[in-house]
Symmetry: C2
């Protein structure tokens, strides 16, 4: 019998997170105050985040210890399996070897708890009274709900109203973990009230929800802090447990990846898998290729400029240098809600800009076709976000077939699709649409980038 | 760090299924033709099942080899983890040690594929052209859909109309695996047509769906066979991989269960875990207790008589001896759809009757309360069926606490609740109801048991 799963024991759980900033050949770009455009200070950030996370955000240390309390909770589902997708290889008739790291086995079903648990822990020990956050489709919200529950930390989730109405089950999952979930815009914040005054029936947006969650923290007199599920350095760093485990597991399989693939929205699941392998390129003479996959509906890396922009629509978040479609960009309603962000993690952007990472944009229909191929081969139905990675993997595997190469492909299976079956229904009914932005639309959204003088 | 997960490698995957009939101190009871009441012949059964499964159904062999083709597919998710629920123990403040076998990690989310894959395989090699089956909430239907897809075997699923309408996502999952799903009653069968003639808006029932699936097979001229997800000997036997793995894993944990718990509908998930441990009682001087948990809404073991009855509502299935509420019993619409069966696996009934297994009936509200306690302790949200086992586990753990005993409790986590969040919504909204049958209602449903002269 040939081996399919490569499993680590709890004793193999990583003891440290990896900080790419220690080894990145490109220095970190400045982070600017949204009003003054001066470099942000820890004081500014400390309204939103506990000091330990701010220190991690700016750290130059290569490794940061994972607290035992966090590892104890990771153990509920980590180490996650590395799986060789032999049935998919066979279905494609490819000589390529395809491996995936299954982050869908976490209780909320994605990689998100890797950072949610860490953030809840650091807030708890800093004496934070409650956390606030936003969620769109609900993957981040449910991960943070579980994490806060474990540390007995109250959580307010501002959930985009249209998702709150149309996708009640993620909300029920959050409530099962004990979180309070509000349909955003709410009348709990000034910003929410102003939106509702203009449009009492507002469907909401991620931008509005972020602004409400931030306002709820900022105006709490220090009692509440805010938590973000991607983009920031410390968030990406918490995800590196994925790649550190995968390195050991590829070793068990007796192979090393030629190419490392993942989908990117804010960048955290991909960075989590890729950065430890990128370290091996930078420090240990490995030569893996890195491919970040985004939707054609939100073509941040492939069509946006590398520029300074606000992290959020309401210009309350810091200005950072990143590939961006403009903070006012309205992404089409694709089902991969986790990939609908106008920007991208600054660290990933700088590595992409310097040529260490490639990027590809894929249309929605092709990703669902790939997802069905995967489901019928491997049994597991992927989240629409993950389907983007799978589609690129299949393209790589078919390219390897054409060239007759035994290429080793590794990707991050960032989450399962159990809460996304309405999207599959739309696809199977032949009602799914692709989105391709005319160049004018991209340029129009870029008109309002801040003018930064450095 | 204390150990939480006990993992086996693929090389530890069982090579045989265990047949309790070889060791059961009570001989198998006769299986009778629904019309003639004569013992059924292989010929009668061969219209529905391939010969290999019929031979397994009546086998007296203790062990039956698992085909390599089946083990290759089991490997996609097996061996499943054994997990020590340390956080639940702590939440309860109990000295008891609580272990669960997580069958929710299979791609369709339950233990059901353990037999679905085997049944699809034996049908494929017997030259079956297609399979038919019924499904209620959809756990069985989605497991068989995945299995048939792997063996390139077409599948027709007759899904209870009300579930088809109200729970579309399980249907989408089945369709994603490539199965054809019909809202039952359909106009595809004579029986369905007759039901629709009486009531064009019929919500359907599991009884009707079974009858349609059986008719579709029987009238196919030998092309199609029928597949059942519980109750039968061969189905329970395929599930024993659960218990065989758990025996090895308890050994890794350095403990042996004092009590083995599971929920029962048809009996397959519980028998799968319990029978290998029961063998150790029978042959190797172990002394574990066995507790089967059913809903008060369907109190088969705790309130039904041990009697001959039809396996299905339409009296097309054989007559078997079992604890039963009567084939005409209409279970209340509890959310644990998989536990809404009027009877119970004959092998399990005979062992219960002989005192080798205990039974307890629990009300729905208490099981959801237990499920939330579990979710907030261990992170994983259970299926409503599994919640019954968890509720009994918590009762055992609190009893051990009262008595100051370090009792070792093992249970089968038969499936996750990702597709059952509407039930949790009802519970969290305070809208969930308990059902308790007046004795007259139970007696009335028992009026129509067949008169069997043996």
């Amino acid at each position: 019998m040939t081996q399919t799963k490569f499993l680590l024991n709890e004793t193999d759980l990583p003891k440290t997170w990896y900080n790419i900033n220690a080894d990145s050949p490109v220095p970190p770009t400045p982070v600017l105050h949204p009003q003054t455009q001066d470099p942000v200070t820890p004081d500014f950030l400390s309204v939103l985040f506990p000091m330990e996370l701010i220190l991690q955000e700016v750290s130059a240390d290569r490794y940061i210890d994972i607290p035992e309390e966090v590892r104890e909770i990771y153990k509920l589902w980590r180490p996650t399996p590395l799986i060789r997708a032999r049935r998919l290889e066979k279905a494609l008739g490819t000589p390529a070897h395809i491996y995936f790291k299954n982050e869908g086995v976490s209780p909320p079903g994605s990689h998100k708890p890797n950072t949610a648990v860490a953030q809840a822990f650091y807030n708890k020990i800093a004496g934070t009274g409650a956390l606030t956050t936003e969620t769109g489709a609900g993957q981040w919200g449910s991960a943070l709900s579980m994490a806060c529950n474990f540390f007995d930390l109250p959580l307010e989730v501002y959930m985009v109203n249209i998702s709150y109405q149309q996708k009640p089950y993620r909300r029920v999952l959050m409530e099962s973990y004990g979180a309070e979930v509000f349909a955003s815009p709410t009348d709990r914040t000034q910003f929410g009230q102003s939106v509702l005054a203009d449009d009492p029936e507002s469907p909401g947006s991620l931008g509005i929800a972020i602004s409400e969650a931030v306002e709820a923290a900022v105006t709490s007199g220090g009692k509440k802090k805010y938590s973000l599920g991607s983009v920031l350095n410390h968030v990406l760093m918490h995800q590196t447990v994925v790649g550190e485990e995968a390195l050991k597991q590829m070793d068990m399989a007796g192979e090393y990846p030629d190419v490392v693939i993942g989908c990117v929205g804010g960048g955290s699941n991909y960075a989590g898998l890729a950065y430890p392998f990128l370290r091996e390129n930078l420090l240990n003479d490995q030569n893996a290729r890195f491919v970040a996959v985004e939707p054609t509906a939100t073509p941040t890396l492939t069509r946006g400029p590398y520029a300074f922009d606000y992290g959020d629509t309401a210009k309350m978040a810091p200005i950072v240098k990143m590939f961006t479609l403009g903070h006012g960009f309205i992404p089409p309603p694709i089902h991969a809600g986790g990939l609908r962000y106008h920007g991208m993690a600054p660290s990933l952007c700088s590595l992409y800009d310097a040529g260490h990472i490639e990027a590809v944009a894929l249309p929605q229909l092709a990703t669902f076709e790939a997802a069905i191929t995967f489901t019928r081969s491997e049994g597991i139905i992927p989240a629409p976000e993950t389907a983007h990675a799978i589609c690129a993997v299949i393209d790589e595997a078919l390219d390897a077939k054409e060239k007759g190469e035994e290429r080793v492909i590794l990707f991050n299976f960032s989450g399962h699709g159990h809460f996304d079956l309405s999207a599959y229904q739309t696809y199977l009914n032949g009602e799914l649409e692709d989105y391709e932005h005319p160049e004018e639309a991209i340029q129009a959204a870029l008109q309002h980038l801040p003018q930064v003088n450095l």
